[in-house]
Symmetry: C2
Subunit: 401 residues, 2 copies
């Protein structure tokens, strides 16, 4: 056997990101599902919602007070006979004699014929008559039906990311269930003979399988529903079985490990014959990347170093997943470097940084295996491929982790 490993031409980061986005964007057309309120919070409306009724539903009082005709209180103080009391929730037919007053509670129907409400604070009553001390104009403290929203009017447009204020308005028109887009469903599949589940006793040469848990957390955090997290050894048959299961239940599958230049690259070896493309992207960390479509389901294959996995997620998956979930795009800011950076020519670097007074600092430990160091970072610092020496104060793009 003879082998020679040439340095394959590496693809630019943005090329690979666009290919992934092109493959994932059709997931925007996923189906709607009914979700009961208030669980629809944070989901995206699948269709325009029009008001099924007027708000206010009926003419009602804005205050606790007395419903009168404005002409009856044009000269004050005015003492009027008290003709009744209307509580909120009163569903009976009401009559009103001009020249009288009817006590009304906030939200209670204003009797037809009364044209304003005098707040209780501006009155005195002995239970038989009420003395009004301030005049009122027609319409004062009376809420007319349809002044908030008219039946048939658009309340919230398709695509709206439902915040509490939308939930409040949609509940007010009596909707108990909303049609929202189903979240994108993802399956996570980690690979590697060396990986052991949390809590296991490690033999020499073994490490904990953290990528599955970490990717699941990152996906959940970006509006994706994680339907499974599984692990496969480097055995081809086992990986193929796990992959088949993942593809059957998910809209998109994320794998970690098995994409590099070693002798046991199960992900690359199984997926390449199925049409998967594997190669090097001009970035650090996260160079080796794969993209496949299996039975119509996109499979994103990230390298297995924990930091490489998480940076791959941030760079290639997070922006499009947020777009699909209707979440706001991540703000990219430009900040000065607080320390000098050296970078290899031709590779875009995503360094782990920390926002500080006046700019961005790097966390110590930039190796692709330094996952504990990454916990200290709150941003990724984007160093362009062409840059090699960046002095203190160089303006760099920074994206939140």
């Amino acid at each position: 056997m003879s082998s020679r490993h040439a340095l394959a031409p590496a693809r630019p980061v943005d090329d690979h990101r666009r290919r992934i986005e092109d493959v994932l964007r059709p997931l925007a057309g996923r189906p709607a599902e009914p979700v009961s309120m208030p669980r629809a919070l944070g989901r995206r409306l699948a269709a325009d919602v029009h008001a099924p009724l007027d708000l206010p539903v009926f003419r009602n009082s804005a205050m606790d007070g007395y419903a009168v005709r404005a002409e009856s209180v044009a000269i004050v103080p005015a003492t009027l006979p008290l003709a009744g009391v209307v509580a909120a929730g009163n569903t009976e037919q009401m009559t009103f004699e001009p020249g009288t007053a009817v006590k009304v509670m906030t939200g209670a129907p204003v009797p037809p014929g009364a044209d304003c409400v005098v707040p209780v604070e501006h009155t005195e009553s002995d239970g038989v008559t009420v003395t009004v001390r301030t005049s009122r104009a027609t319409g004062d403290f009376v809420r007319e039906p349809g002044t908030d929203v008219r039946a048939g009017q658009l309340l919230a447009a398709a695509g709206t990311l439902l915040r509490p204020r939308h939930i409040a308005a949609l509940a007010a028109v009596g909707l108990g269930e909303l049609s929202v887009f189903r979240p994108v469903r993802a399956a996570v599949l980690t690979t590697g003979d060396e990986l052991r589940p949390a809590g296991a006793a490690l033999l020499p040469g073994q490490i904990f399988d953290s990528n599955g848990i970490a990717l699941a957390a990152a996906l959940t955090d970006n509006g994706v529903e994680v339907v499974s997290v599984a692990h496969s050894t480097d055995n081809h048959d086992e990986f193929r079985d796990r992959l088949t299961e993942a593809v059957a239940q998910a809209d998109v599958v994320f794998t970690s490990g098995g994409v590099s230049m070693g002798d046991f690259e199960v992900v690359k070896e199984v997926l390449t014959p199925l049409g998967g493309e594997f190669g090097s992207v001009a970035m650090q960390p996260g160079g080796p990347q794969g993209l496949s479509v299996v039975d119509g389901v996109p499979v994103l294959s990230f390298p297995g170093n924990p930091v490489s996995t998480m940076v791959s997620f941030e760079v290639f998956a997070r922006p499009i997943l947020r777009e699909l979930a209707g979440l706001p795009a991540l703000p990219i800011s430009e900040l000065p470097l607080l320390e000098p950076v050296r970078s290899p020519a031709g590779k875009r670097q995503f360094l782990r940084g920390k926002l500080a007074e006046g700019g961005v600092a790097l966390v110590s430990g930039q190796g692709s295996h330094l996952i504990a160091a990454m916990a200290q970072a709150d941003v990724l610092v984007d160093i362009p491929a062409a840059a090699t020496e960046l002095p203190v104060g160089t303006i760099v793009e920074v994206r939140p982790l």
Copy 2:
């Protein structure tokens, strides 16, 4: 019966807010609970987490390549006998003869005695020997144990809000479960004879009960676990029963309605004899407010108009609930008004606004019942109590909804 409703002296907004915060802040001491990964995402660590082991766990290769002694490749090209292959996950004892090369995969143990790794890209092999084309220094591409984190070192401090990067680091040291603070548990209790559940047929004078759903959404959105959403009519016994149930299962209870100056103010009437304080806060919307402690459980009583309820939540509850959940404080910004505002003297106004180019505009419809209009707003505009005429361009404080 004689009644005279004097204008009670209204309490400043910040006074009432501070009283609520004083009553809720002890909930910071609520118990911890174990939560399995990755469900701990978004929760707060209840205790410092120290690394139970070194990371890397063992000396391993950073590349797919050949483990050698640096001295063997000081002069290149150097052809060395290939003495074996070590895969990631290899748990067997390894030996190493100086002068030979052992093929190692990324993450595989580096045999003791080898002191650097030559990346496979810089070699050629016929399966019996390997020819190395580049020299390497001692330590190149070898990851030493404990260089990411040492056993015993602090990985994440108590109080940390767990983001995916923390989950990744804690999973890497093998933790399958984390001790996190139990979220604050809230019960919501709406009142009013006029309220009907979603989907019901409304009789004249009835409206939909939206405050329960809306408060549940707002609470969930701010890190609170909603344990119940219930409704009571204005019947005292029924309210007392529902309140007893709510207090039994929650850390804090939110009521809506029944706090004003009408004849049927069930919340005020039941809670005042239990020591609850009810009165007017100098604000619009949301003036009538109540605060009680029942069996040690704080009960916040908001007025029933839907906008009043939501503004009360934003002003009095949201900041302290976010603090208790470990969520970031809401950013308060200062922006110019895009239109003139008139405001009654002595009442702080919280107007519903919309961010726009160059400042903040108001949404049309500022009445406390205009809940559909509120869905169009993305901010609350804070108009100080003393201000009465604010021309275009006046700088106002704006908080996100």
